[in-house]
């Protein structure tokens, strides 16, 4: 296995996520897609570390660890926002949410 295998896989996964984020209108599915993209990026980070110059520095896992922690926070807040928005619009449909302010 070489670095490029992982890079291509990560690119594919990232684009699946991108596709999901662009084409679905359910806010929760969009959140799925964002998670997929984040994970694809993490895969890249780890792959670069594994096949990089100085793996002993542990930069890849460290970076990924931080990214995962931030992603967990993001999901928590994101889902809370989805619920808050749902409470307001009675829907998680992104196309319904087109106002910034209560009119």
């Amino acid at each position: 296995m070489t670095l490029h295998h992982y890079l291509i896989l990560a690119a594919l996964l990232f684009c699946i996520g991108l596709m999901g984020a662009f084409t679905r209108r359910n806010a929760i599915v969009v959140l799925f897609s964002v998670e997929i993209m984040l994970n694809a990026a993490n895969l890249n980070l780890i792959a670069f570390w594994r096949y990089g110059d100085n793996p002993a520095l542990q930069h890849g896992p460290l970076f990924t660890l931080f990214a995962i922690a931030v992603a967990a926070a993001e999901v928590a807040v994101g889902l809370a926002l989805v619920i808050a928005v749902y409470r307001h619009f009675r829907s998680v449909d992104l196309e319904v949410m087109d106002t910034l302010k209560e009119e």
Binding site: I83, H88, R90
Partner: protein
């Protein structure tokens, strides 16, 4: 934006702004493990909280009252066994009391003593198995129940020796008992009665101060004194709600005035499942006191009085009642001069105690609903008749 929807008299579902948490309608029963028979509770749950509850019964309806109206008086005696099939002796007794009021029958003293002994043994059987079932409903996987059943077996053996049947005893007759107890029965009964407190000590030690049982039962299913009185609740449940009312003391029927015994009751502040549980535990001790006195005081003599061969009372209305283990069991008879009753009506304590189920369960957790039902102590044979 939040709105409170009143769905039950004492419970408001708090609608989180726009979050449509729907109620879960669960039909608990009729084949639920802990509905004590073919009984159904239509429960509406808000998460785990019971917000509405509708008892549904009638699955075991056997037309008992109408059958009895087409049958001679004595003919329906065996059917009273099947009312509350745990306590056939007291059922018999209540019916015999009612019928004995229709015609003048002397009940011999030995028969009265034996009736008291049988009734109190029945109370032990009922309370001990109820407490077992109750702890089983609390989730104790049958261990207390099986210990209770060990004791129950001994008493059922006594019943079997006396009447030939363990549960459907059909032992009472108008004016006395069907037959005398066999030789040595009283000694065996004394043996059982003497050993019963040992078991009760063990039971109380294990259960009455168990932290989990305390926290599961205290403050759960509270029944106020006023509601208990106005709903016509009787028996241990009423006494747990703080009313000192025991038909053995009130009516002094049969020979209960000869015995020294106390009636445990609460001060009526709580009336929760723990009170109902404890009142029954304490009542068993008093039953043992009565039993000891009765076993000591019993004399020789006949056990069947001057009952007429053909039971054909003059037109009259009578109501005979006893303090059955579950509450006031009454039989209301209207005689019209024929050998069959014109009207035959049972006042089943289970059914009437069950009427407050909804009031006790609202706002409690679903697990509590089960133990509240268990603490009411119903037998579906009696509820549905």
């Amino acid at each position: 934006m939040s709105s409170a929807t009143a769905i039950a008299p004492n419970y408001e579902l708090i609608q989180q702004d726009g979050l449509e948490t729907s109620l879960l309608e669960v039909s608990m029963g009729p084949h639920h493990p802990s509905t004590h028979g073919v009984f159904r509770m239509d429960v509406k749950l808000d998460g785990e909280t019971v917000v509405d509850l509708q008892p549904v019964f009638g699955y075991l309806h056997r037309n008992h009252e109408k059958l009895a109206e087409n049958m001679s008086y004595l003919g329906s005696m065996p059917f009273t066994d099947r009312l509350d099939y745990f306590n056939s002796m007291t059922n018999n007794w209540a019916y015999a009391l009612a019928a004995e009021k229709l015609v003048e029958i002397e009940v011999p003293e030995r028969a009265d003593y034996l009736r008291v002994i049988m009734a109190e043994l029945t109370r032990l059987v009922n309370h001990v198995s109820l407490v077992g079932f109750f702890i089983n409903d609390l989730g104790a996987l049958g261990t207390p129940l099986l210990y209770a059943f060990r004791e129950r077996e001994k008493i059922l053996d006594l019943f079997e020796q006396a009447s030939g049947a363990r549960m459907m005893c059909n032992y009472f007759r108008f004016g006395g008992l069907r037959n005398d107890v066999p030789e040595g029965w009283l000694d065996r009964a004394r043996d059982v009665v003497d050993h019963f407190p040992v078991f009760l000590d063990e039971y109380e030690q294990l259960l009455c101060e168990n932290e989990i049982i305390l926290s599961r039962t205290q403050g759960v299913g509270c029944l106020s004194r006023d509601l208990a009185i106005s709903a016509g609740i009787t028996g241990p449940m009423l006494r747990a709600s703080g009313v000192n009312y025991d038909i053995r003391k009130v009516d002094k029927y049969s020979i209960y005035d000869r015995f020294q015994f106390r009636v445990p009751y609460t001060d009526g502040n709580v009336g929760d499942c723990y009170d109902r549980f404890m009142v029954r535990m304490l009542e068993m001790r008093e039953s043992i006191r009565i039993l000891k006195q009765a076993l000591d005081g019993i004399g020789d003599g006949p056990v069947l009085g001057n009952a007429p061969k053909v039971f054909k009372p003059k037109p009259a209305e009578v109501y005979g009642r006893v303090e059955a283990p579950k509450g006031e069991l009454g039989f209301y008879l209207i005689a019209d001069g024929t050998p069959k009753p014109y009207r035959y009506r049972v006042r089943p304590p289970s059914l009437i105690n069950l009427t407050v189920l909804r009031d006790m369960c609202l706002g409690q957790k679903v697990a509590d609903a089960v133990i509240i039902l268990g603490s009411i102590d119903i037998v579906l044979g009696e509820v549905d008749r």
